[in-house]
Amino acid sequence: MLADAIRSEAYRLTRNRAVLSWSLIFVPLVWLAVLIGGAVIDAKVDRMADQLLPQLASARAALDLGDTLLSAAGQLANPALLAFLLIGAATVFSSDYRWETWRLITARNSRPNLIMGKVGTVKLMTLAGLGLFLLAALIGAVIKGVVLDKDLVFRFGGEEPRTFGLLFLLAYVRVVQFLLLSLLAAALTRSQLAALFVPLAVGAAQGLLIGATPLLGWSTIDWQTLLVFPGAAYEALKSVVLGGVPAAVLQEGLVWRAVASLALWSFIPFGLSLWWFSRQDLSKE
């Protein structure tokens, strides 16, 4: 059953402390350290400013944790988080090739369930990773408020919860889409290194090549650009959510093209992996 596959994969991942630390804890911790460091520098700058312009000292605005949350949600699918979540995903997707444990579990579940169990576990890990990043941003903001001696408020009304939810969902889809490249690499090559480095190489190549699209006469919202670069599709959708896209562009079907790009980049690697894995000789790893 699929539930058994997810439970066992999640159990195995949670016992792998090294991988959990790198893929889930490292980036939020570094982010927290950066925020604290920034707050300390800001405090010093503020003290200097207070000495020079004492009349501004009482005019400082309160720190809004709602804004912090929204801002962090917009940064969730950042390259660092993608790269480090990839460590966990590559481990989950390739561990049965690496430790020759397919033969222990294939006899107990169907192959589609086994693959979907891994994908389900990586999705849970992604949710945890995104949640920890948001938590780090909130803790960083609280510490910043204490260090800067600012009042903390939490204003999160109107459109903000919806915007936050859409940004979180977009980031989740983008991260999972990227991690599914690791599944395909693992299934095709049976190698943990490939599962780790192929998505990184594809991501880096896309990051470099998107700068060359104007040479082809493609704009960042053309369907060709969106289809080839899922990162551009994510950024386009993020702009739509944040209200930064003109109505005329929206009418040209930008949202659907971007959604189609992310869907294709998710379902094609997943489908190919499933098809390949279903025919794979698992007696040799």
Binding site: M1, D4, A5, R7, S8, Y11, R12, R15, N16, R17, A18, S95, W99, E100, T101, W102, R103, L104, I105, T106, A107, R108, N109, S110, D281, L282, S283
Partner: protein, 319 residues
Amino acid sequence: MSAYPHRAKLDCMTAVIETTGLTKTYGAVRALDGLSLSIPRGGVYGVLGPNGAGKSTLFRILLGLIRPTAGQVRVLGQHAGDPAVMRRIGSMIETPRFPPYMTARQVLEWLALAHGMGKDAAIDAWLDRVGLTEAANRKVRGFSVGMLQRLGVAAALMTKPDLVILDEPTSGMDPPGIQEMRALIRSLADDDGVTIILASHQLLEVQRVCDRVAIFNRGKLAAEGKVSDLTASGERLRLSATPLAKIMGVLGDKGSLDGDAVLAAIPRAEGPGLLRALIEQGVDIDEARWVGADLESVFMAETGPARTDAQVREALHAG
């Protein structure tokens, strides 16, 4: 009460494995070549053969890890690879490897979850049964080959399968460990009614623990039957007598020297007649007794002679 209440469902089934014309090719190599085999329910069934004879290929097909090129195979009455059937099989193919960051207990807990078992897995009981209680909380990265084998056997058994496939289960074990494993296998077959299919190169162990064996050679079935029947077919009359030359003269090519004695390859019914003939020829008989062939000699007879020392040296020089 039996630990295996569902076992009654199998009573009406006479064969747990049935293959017909089973063939598996890897390029030009025929790992299995039209194998037709029926493995009966109950007891311990040995699968023997030299390296490359097709044993592991058969096991991999039975476990749904690879698909046959041609032929039919039914496992517990169903098609091989069907998850419903696979859940009733426990297996350990070659030396198992486990995630090295896990303890022995965690490995079994992980597999229990994968198998949809909760607390029913009785993990402590299985750790105890394979002699790993003291090492239960040690990470498997520090385990010896023998300890990994024990853990692999516990993993194969903890789901209380109807059929267990073990490939070289005593590989890397010390003599007491081998003895314990033999006792465990026999107890599973005799007390719990599990059918065990066992492959091993340790022919003495196979002879001690198996009820029936199949001998594979080059992907084909060379011999099959009860261990007692196969070894009886190689029975010899051992004669301690003088003069040896006179005995050899009577026996012709049915006689062979065995130290100071002669082994006569004759049916048991011809024994009294031979003894009378030898006495009439003036042979002094000190002792005459029937000796059974061991499985090794049956195996060698079915799979071809081993190379002599001189042939091995020659091959090494040539290489």
